[in-house]
């Protein structure tokens, strides 16, 4: 388990009951290692976001087990009363749209979550500035989301996901709203984050041109998850 960041075992999720019962995930099992960029692919409605939300402790599975790092967080029920604490301490989220808080500036958006921890404000602010500089937003600390381009906002969202130093980032189609050039740039950045900071990232995507950056591909087929590895330089 030392090198494993996420482990999922026989995970199931059904919606509805009786005739309207729909089995979305049927016994999914996979592992994600530390520092891996993993793509999660499947047709629309196959359960990508559902799987992501279950790993993110937002949606309760029907059965199965989930480990985040070495901690077993779900075993037929949540093993913690405060799922938000797990999200706060272990996870970072990036969404299709940037979903930044419109009334906060870039630096506040990035610092907000870690400021709720016991860390000193000065330390948090400095780290947030470092992350923003790393993502090429060193001049935009005081800008509001409405004053930035789509690509810049998505980079701020990445910075926000990194600010609380998570072990795992769950990215739900982070490039969907971007043109191909910016999409490549964002995924390159995510790749760099995995290598430099040892963070594991699961990225939902429809764009097969981006799969070449990933270490592993998780494909949902008929409710089950198939894992395939991408060798260096391979174009999928």
């Amino acid at each position: 388990m030392d090198n494993i960041s996420i482990k999922v075992e026989n995970l199931e999720k059904t919606f509805g009951e009786g005739e309207s019962r729909v089995e979305v995930i049927k016994g999914a099992s996979f592992e994600v290692n530390k520092g891996e960029l993993v793509a999660l692919i499947a047709p629309s409605g196959a359960g990508k976001s559902t799987l992501l939300m279950m790993i993110g402790c937002v949606l309760e599975p029907t059965s199965g087990k989930i480990w985040l790092g070495e901690e077993l967080v779900y075993d037929k029920k949540w093993l913690t009363k405060d799922a938000r604490k797990i999200r706060r301490e272990k996870l970072g989220f990036i969404f299709q749209a940037h979903y930044l808080i419109p009334f906060l500036n870039v630096l506040d958006n990035v610092s907000l979550l870690p400021l709720t921890s016991s860390e000193k404000e000065e330390v948090v602010r400095d780290r947030s500035k470092d992350i923003l500089r790393f993502l090429g937003l060193g001049e935009k600390f005081n800008a509001k989301p409405s004053e930035l381009s789509g690509g810049q906002n998505q980079r701020v969202a990445i910075a926000r996901a990194l600010a609380n130093q998570p072990q795992i980032i769950l990215a739900d189609e982070p490039t969907a709203a971007l043109d191909i050039e910016r999409a490549h740039s964002v995924v390159k950045m995510l790749k760099e984050v995995t290598k430099t900071q040892g963070v594991s990232i699961i990225m939902v995507t429809h764009d097969e041109r981006l799969l070449g950056y990933c270490d592993k591909i998780l494909k949902i087929v008929a409710g089950k998850v198939e894992t395939s590895h991408v060798t260096e330089g391979e174009v999928v």
Partner: protein, 382 residues
Amino acid sequence: MINLAYKDIQHTFSKFVITAMGVGMLLGIVLIMIGVYRGMVEDAKVLLNDVNADVWVVQQYTLGPFAESSRLYQDLQDSIKVIEGVDKAAALTFQGMQLFDKQGHAVRVYTVGYDPRGDFQIIPDSALIEGRVLRESHYEMVVTDKTGFALGEKIKVGRNIFTVVGITQGTVSSGGDPIVYVSLKDAQIMQFSYSNPRIRNDRARGLESKDSQLVNVVVATLKPGYAADQVAQKMERWKHLTVYSQAEQIQILSKNVIERSSKQIGLFTLILVLVSSIIIGLIIYTMTLEKIKEISIMKLIGIPNFLITKMIIQETILLGLIAFVFGNLFAQLIYSNFPKRVLLEWPDSFTLLAVIIVTSFLSSLIGVYKVLKADPAQAIGG
């Protein structure tokens, strides 16, 4: 730590202030309504306080002179004056009437007639803002500033022309009409004298018409050591009159004369406070709903509930406070334009503030409930 309420308000400052102003105007109207109620109660006591008598002697079995018609002979004041315990006594008349200004506009007034050389000084020095009190027995008038008449102005009443010799402020009847003061003799002519055709008509009927010496009430003050009820009992027994103390007269006015009107205003005020509370609640609810996406995101990324609920509660309380300030400013700006007295009192304002704070806090709980119920999964599409 980042103050989310401060940042949010800063971001939508003009919208927040305009919302607060809107709520403030509503609160201003509530304050005005309370002021109208207070003014009505206060107006009812103005004349009684100005006269400041210990006992009010009226026609037997009547609630006069304000609640029911009362007629007494003027010379009764002399009989009253010699009763043991009575210090001073004076006969007064009260009459509602209509005057006309220079442009011919009707001015509704309440006329008080008193003897300028009598025992009682009816016009308080503090109320006189210009000119002097009555000095002559005829054709002088002291008016309240709200009548619009100026010092020295000539006013025609019946066959006579009166000169305004003094102007008072804040002197109104229990109904809120501005008071004009004339001499008792003039007031008796206005109220009780017949016109020449009527006198001729009465003579033709075999009736004798002559100038009456009637008044509406005789007021008296008592010597030290005499209780009002004991002296009143004596007067009622020997003179066949009804006598009220100052306190009873105030009660008659507040219970019999203005009770229904004041209850109506009070009920209307209560409904207005209730409606304002509901509107504040709806505004807070809408303000929270507008932020529900951001709230879901915050919950999803792990922001604790207390930070989000703190934002909602702080914004709500601040909205209430700003609205309270605007409400007071608005009420202070417009209250003097109302035709009748509007009495704005700080204790009422602060009571309303307490109501608004409690209402705002309760309203914010609706927002907090929405926050607690907000599903973080709403943040993720697909």
